[in-house]
Amino acid sequence: MSAVSHYIGNIWTAATSFFEGLSVTMSWMFRRPMTIQYPDKIDKPIDQQLPERYRGFLEVDIRYCIGCSACMRACPIDCIRMEVAKHPESGTRMLTRFDIDVSKCMFCGLCTEVCPTGCLHHTKLFEGTNAHIENLVLRYVDVPVEPFKMKKGEENPIDRSGNIARSRLKDFFAPAPPEFQGSRQGDLTG
């Protein structure tokens, strides 16, 4: 008899469990889908929807950099390259180079924590695709500048809007920088 009851029991469990399962999936037909239809149907621009601490592309407000290169030492994968050289005539320290290779950066945030002034910070940008990987090196120093003279305890008005990084990010179809033209990478899309 137990075989028969086992048999009928199987059929009954199957029927009831399918009943429950079908009711659950049907109830989902009436619920809000959780897809965010980026980038066409979002109500605010995406960088206003991201939280404060979001770790996007790195940006440095070069006016407030003191040239300590703590960020370069903290980076686990050497994606920051900062050079300080002496001015040939006056002999003062000058920042000649501050390059961040965004294609290497893993957005860990260790460099932003050790920056004494906070001029190196994360923005909320993440849309930086480019046809040439060389264009993903963001160069923040155009002409050599003097490093900032930091006073302890003073709040510095650092521009965190992301505009500096936006101005450095190149358009998708921008050609590769001249020093890479003629290499295989540079020839691919001209």
Binding site: N10, S17, V24, T25, M34, R53, R55, P76, M106, C108
Partner: protein, 387 residues
């Protein structure tokens, strides 16, 4: 030890022709739609029943332990995220605990509470993937997407907390990197209120589904002795009836302040230690994590979130082993320091590795369709196995 002249032992680099006529050597390849990363199984099968399935790992080896020898202590934290990207908080915590042991630093209480909150959120997120993938590998795609929707909320919460959704890099040696943002506690509680009935709904949809139970119940029951012999840890071990949870004995961090149960398998629908137990233990562990989260948010003390740690970490010659109860079991970090600012050796012991080894024994006599069910019931993920 098996006889080395046994022709059925396959050499991995030279697959031999199977000994018995009617057998085939099939490769459940590294690229496979079952989403557990790049795992490879060489199977000797006669069409449906498997005679031998040899796991072949190493497709996701990235040299994490070697990289540690070239990276200063604080800078290695993002790499630990990638050792187990579904349970990154635990990987962070294990590493931080090992280095803190060497340096003799005590972590402030508020930082410990932040760590527990982050870890338990991550445990829920990872179990969502594990149970969802169990369903998906057996053909039910819907529960997986429902779980991904819940996971989105957890991802948004961690995004507010530390800035990233998967590779958190939240913990530091000596504490955590940032305090809880404003309103975080409210949002987490609202999520937990919403989440609890959803687990019941998930049960109704798939856990109690007759077909799902038929596929998993009594599939490879692993007894207590066998589980301990093969070195299984975490939910796999608990499902076989062994009550082992590092959060209770010996306990670490501030888990002693919380009241929660250790879920063990007791043959929910079949024998103790079968695949359904391994799956359902994970579902029930999500309830326990919700409990711990509520208690932690309530009892949160004030204080600093980071201990006093020197800027340049140069520990003296020492070694330490720290273990955490990660999602897939015990994750252990063994660090040997030699006086410089980089470790001399770092060894990571993860929970999926013994489970992958157990697959060879477990998959004898099962059918091809069951191998996929077994992989997802053991919750193997490739980055933990290969590092």
């Amino acid at each position: 030890m098996e006889n080395p002249k046994d022709p059925r032992i396959l050499e991995l680099h030279v697959p031999q022709a199977p000994a018995v006529p009617g057998e085939m050597l099939v490769n459940m390849g590294a690229q496979h739609p079952a989403t557990h990363g790049v795992l490879n199984f060489l199977m000797v099968t006669d069409g449906e029943v498997i005679h031998k399935a040899i796991p072949n790992c190493g497709y996701l080896h990235r040299g994490m332990e070697k990289i540690a020898e070239m990276t200063p202590y604080p800078a290695y934290m993002p790499y630990t995220d990638r050792i187990d990207y579904l349970g990154a908080m635990f990987a962070n915590q294990g590493y931080a605990m090992a280095v803190e042991k060497i340096l003799g630093i005590e972590v402030p209480r508020r930082a410990e509470y932040c760590r527990v909150i982050a870890c338990e959120l991550n445990r829920i997120a990872s179990h969502l993937i594990a149970t969802g993938c169990s369903a998906m590998d057996l053909g039910a795609f819907t529960p997986f997407t429902h779980w991904l929707r819940e996971r989105e909320t957890i991802n948004d919460l961690t995004e507010e907390l530390c800035g990233a959704r998967l590779t958190y890099n939240y913990m530091r040696i000596g504490g955590v990197s940032a305090d809880l943002p404003e309103g975080f506690s409210d949002r987490v509680l609202r999520f937990l209120d919403h989440f609890k009935p959803v687990i019941t709904e998930f049960d109704r949809l798939i856990s109690l589904n007759k077909i799902f139970m038929e596929r998993l119940v009594n599939l490879v029951p692993i007894s207590t002795e066998e589980a301990m012999d093969w070195g299984l840890v975490g939910p796999n071990l608990r499902a076989s009836g062994v009550e082992v949870d590092l959060r209770k004995h010996p306990g670490y961090s501030v888990y002693g302040d919380f009241d929660f149960q250790v879920i063990t398998g007791r043959g929910f629908k079949g024998q103790i230690g079968d695949s359904y137990d391994r799956y359902y233990v994970r579902v029930l562990e999500m309830y326990e994590s919700c409990k711990i989260l509520r208690q932690a948010l309530e009892k949160m003390p004030d204080g600093p979130i980071m201990a006093e740690v020197p800027k340049k970490l140069k520990p003296e010659k020492n070694e330490a082993y720290a273990r955490v109860e990660s999602v897939r079991g015990e994750m252990g970090y063994y660090v040997i320091s030699d006086g410089t600012d980089k470790p001399y050796r770092l060894k990571v012991k993860t929970g999926s590795f013994p489970a992958m080894a157990m697959m060879e024994k477990a998959s004898e006599g099962v059918m091809v369709a069951d191998v996929v069910a077994l992989i997802s019931a053991f919750d193997l993920i490739a980055p933990e196995i290969d590092r």
